[in-house]
């Protein structure tokens, strides 16, 4: 059976009753009075009650109105800092650093508060375009996290006992004395800050017998050790995906979570941008068991068990001419996949790259050999600038845990590491920690490890810190504070310096280090201003490969026996990652790109397994939040989690996300969400491997609600919102979309042929000055969600909590629709096509929402904006009902505390109280993140994407002051600026030099389409059709999209 359409959920696929009901009603909740057919007087809210309420509310309003106008104060500075103007934002170059991850960023500081993060365009690590990740975007909320520790303390039974005074005198008096044992261990995440490394080495030199152990939450130990064996360097090289014409990834989620993924996403997208004159693009073949973000973007995707990874890479190597024997592969499709990969790699030697996400040393040695065979070393793999963001090896950590349990460790200093939570042998670590005499944590929250330590001296948030980072050798990025420390926190480095006997603090130390290194104050200032020091020109160099270890490694890989039962993949979500920022409500509420689920982890299972378990994937399953719970038995331990059935999974693979199941002390957003699966990480082979080769499962009778958004915001079966071609089809007939447009004109504009003006009753809007437009390239969009979070931060989009998301109340202005298309009957899912389509207000020039608003609260501007005046809106919600794209969001409650009436924080409909996490976002501290240029919406009003109108107005103001209209040519919206792949382009379409005009009318004419073009809503956002470099059938045949070869109409003017 060939699939006929793109679908987001099973209801849509099978057009079930529940789905039909869903698309019929924009709002799913029942009206607050019952429709029992008994007549008005007998209804729950009869006429008299209505009159009573009316009278009461009038009286209440009168009472409220008679309150005095509050006296507001204007308090200027006593002594205003120079260069600071209240009301004008400033940008400081700094670096996002978190447990080894790092990204050069700019922090927008408005009236002393950092409120937004942008990528630093001077850095190659952001693609020199300022690309970021969802986590970097969300990190600005982290500084205002109410759960941050606020002072140094002694920890007694998990409770904090504050040090008197500032706390630091007490700390410095007490702890160094207790730390006098020789065996002090410094346990940190990977340190790539040059100054911090120097501080640590001085500390170690002063304390003989002490040592430094680096421990990463997600281990890359195998790559480090394999590279040591093959290249003599315990390091991870830089990758250049943009130079690869063939990319083969085996389980490496390099667009979402793997190593330096923001940089890779930018590089990857370069190879995917199509030049219409000669449409060529890289080919990406992906092998995996579960469905990852990167897999979803692949051209061709093949499924294998995680325990077969070794067999897959060995086969690749053998067929590429490596002198190894490879085990036979049973699955025919997988065999074909390997052949396809080999052919593609072989055809592009010197422009090919293989990456592998396995954490098995031998497998990584084989991968190194493959890369050697395809000439990647020195072309797509660069050894001149190794990555420094992951340096920890598992053996070091295992040794530390053994030593701790043997009582060989006297003091343990922990910085940005949380093994009590994310180490597979957390129990071993905890029992060892009890034997350590003095344990000091420098973590910023009372996390699982910190709660077991003796002291905690919380370190600053990165936005409060000086510092440096060197994520790639030679690529240095500076940190500078954007706000004075909010709490009594201190640099962890300062503690080390003090305890080394060096009395200067880290700030001075850092400045002296760089002043010496850079030579002058001017050079130092310049570096701080730029934020980065990077090599001017990229030089890619190889390192000699030593294949001595290969024979042994290959033998060991052959010896790996593929499992026969169901296997479990432990993966990281794009939003939560390893779990370092679990308490970030923005990340928790961001729908997972694949499952569209928020606020939980769950078991991703293939459809076949659902059948086997007797779980009917019907309306009851699909339309309601409660999902069946199953019990996984893993090595004798039980794990109870709800399921989500996902297409594109290997029939014998289930997957669960890491990073959940946190302690309540981490904050209300993290606590009690999901289950911790780190204990199931397999460490038996010496390295931590993120799969389990045999799990048992059984169904329970219970259910657990999961708030997922994949059944929300449905088009009424109008799936032609998205367009996709295979590269070959597209080359053959690139005129499909222009042809379709002509057909529309023929049908609806018989007289003039002008579809825009003739096919409507409404007047044509003219834009005498600027006209804003956006173009979104579906080929570049990888679905990572950085734009969603950037939009949330820029536009004060509220957090609503799981309960509210579950009942369709999520507020994101920009969602990423994920479409599946499978060409299959009961396919195994390896011919699945996944498309991501960012969907936001299309700012239609003929907007259906505008016509139905009874109070003209939403109307059209002369610049093509669909305006939303919140203070005019009376909340009829007609507009949302009439929006074909379902992008309008209604404030069901006072989520952001905009009202002066506290009662408004109770939801309008339903029985639930506002969730604790929403109240947390209403804390005075959390509210500091709000953008003062954007109104905080109150209860009962509609809201939606505004095209970041505050940025447009600001850009226009600057252009008017400078008397230069070119300054508004390519204005950046928040989503555009955050995008790591430059999929989004925005600008003034009336300006023929603007990027968006050029894309639409010159460069990408053939791929330019508008969502639901036949509705004649005239969107101001255009999309560029997705093109997939594959031989598989791609695209959907609907009534508008004619079979190009068979019934292609002669074009009107040809």
């Amino acid at each position: 059976m060939e699939q006929k359409k793109y679908w987001q959920n099973l209801g849509e696929l099978n057009d079930t009753e529940g789905h039909q009901k869903l698309v019929k009603d924009e709002f799913q909740e029942d009206l607050p009075f019952s429709d029992d057919g008994k007549g008005l007087l007998d209804a729950k809210a009869p006429r008299r009650d209505f009159l009573k309420y009316l009278g009461f509310s009038t009286a209440a309003a009168a009472l409220a109105a008679s309150c005095e106008t509050p006296v507001r104060k204007s308090i200027p500075y006593l002594n205003k800092p120079e260069n600071l103007t209240p009301g004008v934002a400033e940008y400081f170059a700094t670096t996002y650093v978190r447990e080894g991850d790092s990204l050069p960023v700019l922090a927008k500081v408005r009236d002393g508060r950092p409120i937004k993060i942008e990528g630093n365009e001077l850095s190659a690590l952001t693609g020199r375009k300022g690309g970021t990740s969802a986590q970097a975007q969300a990190s600005v909320l982290g500084i205002y996290d109410v759960a941050r520790l606020r002072y140094p303390a002694e920890i007694v039974n998990g409770e904090l006992k504050e040090f008197p005074g500032s706390g630091f005198e007490g700390v410095d008096r007490k702890i160094p004395g207790e730390l006098n044992g020789p065996a002090t261990v410094l346990l940190t995440s990977s340190i790539h800050s040059p100054t911090t490394r120097q501080v640590i080495s001085e500390f170690l030199a002063k304390n003989p017998g002490s040592r430094h152990v680096q421990y990463d939450a997600i281990s890359y130990s195998a790559m480090l050790q394999a590279n040591e064996a093959c290249y003599g360097k315990r390091a991870i090289p830089s990758y250049h995906f943009e130079k690869a014409k063939t990319i083969v990834s085996i389980e490496a989620d390099f667009l979402g979570t793997w190593l330096n993924f923001v940089e890779y996403a930018g590089q990857y997208a370069q190879g995917r941008k199509l030049n219409m004159k000669s449409p060529e693009m890289s080919k990406h073949i992906h092998f995996e068991g579960s469905l990852s973000l990167t897999g979803a973007n692949a051209d061709d995707r093949f499924l294998h068990r995680p325990s077969e990874t070794g067999a897959v890479v060995l086969n690749l190597l053998a067929k590429l001419g490596g002198n190894v024997s490879a085990p036979a592969i049973g699955d025919e499709k997988l065999r074909k996949g390997i052949d396809m990969a080999v052919a593609a790699l072989g055809a592009n030697k010197g422009a090919a790259l293989v990456v592998c996400g396995s954490n098995d040393i031998n497998i990584q040695i084989v991968v190194n050999a493959i890369n050697e065979a395809i000439g990647a070393n020195g072309t797509t793999i660069d050894w001149s600038a190794p990555l420094q963001i992951r340096q920890g090896t598992d053996e070091e950590m295992a040794q530390l845990v053994r030593d701790m349990n043997d009582g060989k460790v006297d003091g343990l200093l922990i910085y940005e590491a949380n093994p009590a939570y994310n180490y597979h042998n957390a129990e071993g670590f905890k029992s060892g920690l009890k034997k350590v005499k003095v344990s000091v944590s420098f973590n910023d929250k009372l996390d699982e490890t910190t709660a077991l330590c003796k002291y905690v001296i919380p370190h600053h948030h990165y936005l409060e810190s000086w510092g440096d980072a060197e994520p790639k050798t030679g690529y240095i990025s500076m940190l500078q504070p954007t706000i004075a420390p909010l709490f009594r926190t201190r640099y962890f480095q300062t503690s080390l310096l003090k305890w080394t006997g060096n009395n200067s603090d880290y700030e001075t130390y850092f400045k002296n280090y760089w002043l010496t290194k850079l030579g002058s104050q001017e050079a130092f200032d310049k570096t701080l201003q730029d934020g980065v020091i990077e090599p001017a020109a990229e030089t890619i160099s190889a390192t000699a490969f030593n294949g001595a270890s290969l024979t042994d490694a290959a033998a060991k890989v052959i010896a790996m026996k593929p499992g026969s039962k169901t296997e479990l993949v432990l993966y990281q979500k794009v939003s939560i990652g390893s779990g370092a920022d679990s308490n970030n409500p923005w990340l928790q509420e961001m729908p997972d790109p694949i499952t569209k689920a928020t606020w939980d982890n769950y078991v991703m299972i293939p459809y076949t397994l659902a059948d086997e378990l007797g779980i009917k994937l019907d309306d009851v399953y699909e339309m309601n939040p409660p999902k069946p719970v199953i019990i996984l038995t893993i090595n004798g331990k039980e794990l109870k989690l709800p399921i989500l059935a996902i297409p594109g999974m290997h029939p014998n693979v289930v997957a669960v996300a890491l990073g959940y199941g946190r302690t309540d002390k981490l904050g209300v957003a993290a606590g009690g969400v999901g289950q911790n699966v780190y204990p199931f990480v397999n460490g038996a082979g010496g390295t931590r491997e993120y799969y389990v080769s045999s799990v048992e499962y059984k169904k329970t009778d219970t259910t657990y609600p999961i708030a997922y958004t994949q059944t929300h915001n449905q088009y009424e079966g109008r799936v032609e919102a998205v367009r996709e071609f295979s590269l070959n089809d597209f080359k053959k007939d690139p005129e499909v979309i222009p042809q379709y447009r002509e057909e529309l004109a023929e049908e609806f504009a018989k007289e003039t042929g002008e579809y825009r003006t003739e096919s409507t009753l409404y007047p044509n809007y003219e834009s005498p000055g600027a006209h804003w437009g956006m173009s979104i390239d579906l080929n570049s969009c990888i679905g990572c969600g950085a734009c969603t979070i950037a939009c949330t931060a820029e536009n004060n989009v509220p957090v609503v909590g799981k309960y509210e998301v579950a009942r369709n109340h999520e507020m994101h202005w920009l969602r990423i629709d994920r479409y599946f298309a499978v060409y299959r009957g009961k396919s195994d899912g390896d011919d699945l096509n996944v498309i991501f389509m960012p969907m936001l207000c299309q700012h239609c020039d003929n907007a259906p929402c505008e016509n139905v608003c009874p109070v003209a609260a939403t109307n059209h501007s002369s610049e093509g904006l669909n305006q939303m005046a919140y203070n005019r809106c009376i909340g009829t919600r007609y507009c949302a009902n009439n929006c074909p794209f379902k992008v309008r969001r209604f404030n069901w409650a006072d989520y952001t505390g905009a009202d002066s009436f506290p009662d408004n924080q109770k939801p309008l409909v339903g029985d639930g109280q506002m969730e604790p996490v929403v109240l947390m976002m209403n804390d005075d501290l959390s509210r500091m993140v709000l953008n003062p240029d954007v109104t905080v919406r109150s209860r009962g009003v509609m809201e939606k994407c505004s095209f970041c109108v505050q940025r447009l107005q600001d850009a226009k103001l600057h252009a008017k002051k400078a008397q230069d209209p070119t300054l508004i040519r390519d204005v950046k919206t928040a989503c555009m600026q955050a995008c790591p792949t430059q999929a989004i382009v925005f600008g003034n379409v009336n300006d023929k030099q603007s990027m968006v005009y050029k894309i639409r009318h010159e460069e990408q004419v053939e791929r330019t389409f508008y969502a639901l073009e036949q509705l004649h809503v005239l969107p101001n956002i255009n999309y560029l059709a997705k093109v997939r470099n594959t031989e598989r059938p791609v695209g959907v045949k609907d009534k508008f999209h004619k079979e190009p070869a068979a019934e292609a109409k002669p074009r009107a003017h040809s």
Binding site: P76, L78, K960
Partner: protein
């Protein structure tokens, strides 16, 4: 003919020259005081030494009789001092402090300043000229006839009532005479017509006041709160002619005009520590204000010890009461109006130069904003930004349009102010 033409031309030229000289002179005389206040008053007083020496009689001291030397000194004090023993000794007297250079002052401007100093000095410390007569906007009291009409209406209503009463009495009398049995008179409070009329009147009057009250909610025209320091804009902006933007400098860059920080006040008030010469100032209740005492309040906030001429480091910011409040859902940008729109502060803030304590002059309601946007013309041809409005430029060229208002470029659309 040719001769005549030449003569006419010469006469015109001469007249123009004289006129222009006159204009220059006028501007100089006006500028002297302002220039002095802007540039010199921070450190110099005419009559006494403050940070720098008193300026009265300056031309009788040192080398300053020679204007050329004075120009050189003011333009570049460090350069001049190298060869001049007098200024070197001045420097050592004032503890090594040196005058700031003012290269931007033209010679004419320096002349104007010296003229101002000399005239002020000649008048003596007590008889300081009160400065320019303050141009008082003639605001004739609005002839308000409401009361008159009200009284007239009332009288007419009473007359009408009496007439009605007389009419009914006469009718009754005539009925009695003619023997028509009279109906028992209904007292007016049970007369349905009266009751209905009263209700209608009450409804209309009540409705009017309710709606007016509701519309007026949160509007605070003429709001004039008592501020922590009696700061007179009349003295500063009016009499002393300090430019608005000297203190509210943020108005050029930011959405907020910015209340000046205390250090900006101290720029001048480090030197100006008493209020003696200006006109008497009064509070709203009529009591006189001691200006010097108010300056002392400032010193307290600034943490300035006027005796030792140094900061004690114990300052605190002044908590001014905010007068102009817009609702949170309104975005207003000062720099847009001042820099781009080239509006005067007074357009919205009223005659600030005549206000002692500032009150809210404008309505600050939406109709008030919108009206201005409808009427105000954009700097359409002057500002190159507007070149993108090709159609309007075309229309202007073809005389279809004579000017472009803010409304025409979208200035009354919702999302120009609400987002």
């Amino acid at each position: 003919m040719i001769h005549h033409r030449l003569t006419v031309k010469k006469i015109v030229q001469g007249l123009a020259l004289i006129l222009s000289l006159f204009i220059v002179n006028v501007s100089r005389a006006q500028d002297g005081r302002a220039l002095f206040n802007q540039n010199c008053a921070v450190c110099h007083n005419v009559f006494k030494k403050v940070i720098g020496p008193e300026l009265g009689g300056v031309e009788d001291r040192g080398p300053w009789k020679d204007r050329k030397k004075l120009y050189a000194w003011i333009h570049n004090p460090a350069g001049f001092m190298a060869n001049d023993p007098y200024t070197q000794s001045l420097k050592s007297q004032s503890g090594g402090m040196m005058m700031t250079a003012f290269p931007q002052l033209t010679e004419a401007q320096i002349d104007a300043i010296i003229n101002h100093v000399n005239t002020t000095y000649a008048a003596g410390p007590g008889g300081g000229a009160p400065g320019q007569p303050i141009p008082t906007a003639v605001t004739a009291p609005e002839s308000d006839n409401t009361l008159l009409y009200g009284v007239l209406t009332l009288i007419l209503a009473i007359v009408a009532l009496i007439l009605l009463q007389v009419n009914s009495t006469l009718k009754k009398l005539s009925d009695d005479k003619e023997g028509i049995p009279s109906v028992e008179p209904i007292p007016f409070y049970r007369n349905k017509l009266y009751i209905a009329l009263t209700i209608v009147v009450l409804f209309i009057v009540g409705g009017y006041f309710t709606i007016q009250g509701a519309i007026g909610l949160g509007r605070t025209k003429n709001y004039e709160p008592v501020q922590p320091i009696y700061y007179s804009h009349k003295v500063h902006a009016g009499i002393k002619q300090i430019n608005c933007l000297y203190c509210h400098s943020a108005a050029q860059e930011s959405k907020q005009s910015g209340i000046p920080s205390v250090n900006v006040c101290m720029n001048c008030h480090m030197a100006i520590n008493e209020y003696v010469k200006g006109p008497k100032i009064y509070k709203a209740d009529g009591s006189e204000v001691n200006g010097t005492a108010e300056i002392q309040k400032l010193y307290k906030y600034a943490g300035w010890d006027p005796d030792k001429n140094e900061y004690t480091g114990e300052g605190k910011p002044i908590e001014w009461i905010r007068i102009h409040n817009l609702p949170d859902h309104v975005y207003f940008n000062h720099s847009q109006h001042i820099v781009v729109g080239k509006q005067q502060c007074q357009t919205c803030h009223g005659p600030v130069t005549q206000m002692d304590e500032v009150y809210q002059f404008g309505e600050l309601n939406m109709g008030w904003c919108i009206n201005c946007h409808r009427e105000t013309k954009v700097q359409f041809t002057d500002n190159k930004f507007y070149s993108i409005y090709e159609k309007f430029h075309e229309d202007i060229k073809n005389k279809k349009l004579d000017s472009v208002t803010v409304e025409m470029i979208g200035g009354t659309e919702c999302q120009k102010c609400h987002y």
